[in-house]
């Protein structure tokens, strides 16, 4: 699936998107896999309460299942308006 990063998360990880092969069942499982990769991922995902997630471009929570998902995006709380 495609994993996208925005704002501070993008800066910490150092790229805006990447292709990830995973069998993660939920967003939390995917986060665990990413955290295990490198220090910059561990830092980016250190505090999930400060992160938001969208699956297939819909806001959701970290319990959300990933079955059939094509795109997961991680980002800080939004500051629109």
């Amino acid at each position: 699936m495609d994993v996208l990063y925005f704002a501070r998360v993008r800066e910490r990880i150092g790229l805006p998107r990447e292709r990830v092969e995973t069998d993660a069942a939920t967003v939390t499982d995917l986060v665990e896999e990413l955290r295990a990769r490198e220090e910059c991922y561990a830092a980016a995902f250190a505090d999930l309460s400060a992160l938001r997630v969208a699956v297939d471009q819909e806001l959701t929570d970290f319990d959300a299942p990933l079955a059939g998902a094509r795109e997961v995006a991680f980002f800080p709380p939004m500051t629109g308006g």
């Binding site: 996208l4 925005f6 704002a7 501070r8 993008r10 969208a54 471009q57 819909e58 806001l59 795109e71 995006a73 980002f75 800080p76 709380p77 939004m78 500051t79 629109g80 308006g81």
Partner: protein, 148 residues
């Protein structure tokens, strides 16, 4: 409903004129305009707004659709910019039209609260001292409780 997510500046007066031209039987129009503000500390040079291109327009449509379902509205307009903006520039605007003023006010207020915390935009401030992301405020998240 009209939603525009764009990098280019928009002409507030022309947008309101176009919005009003499409109305009939509406007694009340409310607009909100968000402007890049230089802070008390001063020194803001540029505001950079990042967004999530695939998601932004549909997230705003969903918010606007909810406003149309909750209040008696004639129409809703949302324009939101991204990219580089300087102090004094308009970031975004909302317009609502309704037969009665209470609906127009409530819907505009609701749209702003949701756009603030649920539309995928992130603001970064570039000052003389460097660049930093604008932190989301607890008060903005708390404001959503008014509508549930």
């Amino acid at each position: 409903m009209r939603i525009e997510v764009q990098e280019a500046p928009f002409d507030f007066a022309a947008e309101v004129a176009r919005f009003e031209a499409g109305l009939a039987g509406m007694g009340a129009v409310v607009t909100f305009t968000g402007i890049v503000r230089d802070h008390a500390q001063g020194g803001l040079q540029v505001m950079e707004i990042e967004h999530y291109p695939g998601m932004t327009a549909q997230a705003i449509e969903k918010i606007a659709g909810e406003a149309l379902a909750r209040w008696d509205l004639g129409d809703v307009l949302v324009i939101h910019r991204y990219g580089l903006l300087t102090p004094g520039e308009r970031i975004m605007m909302v317009a609502t039209a309704a037969p009665h003023r209470a609906d127009a006010f409530a819907a505009a207020d609701f749209l702003m609260d949701y756009l603030k915390s649920r539309a995928p935009f992130w603001k970064k401030e570039i000052t003389e001292r460097g660049a930093d992301w604008v932190a989301a405020k607890d008060a903005d998240e708390a404001a959503l409780d008014r509508w549930t």
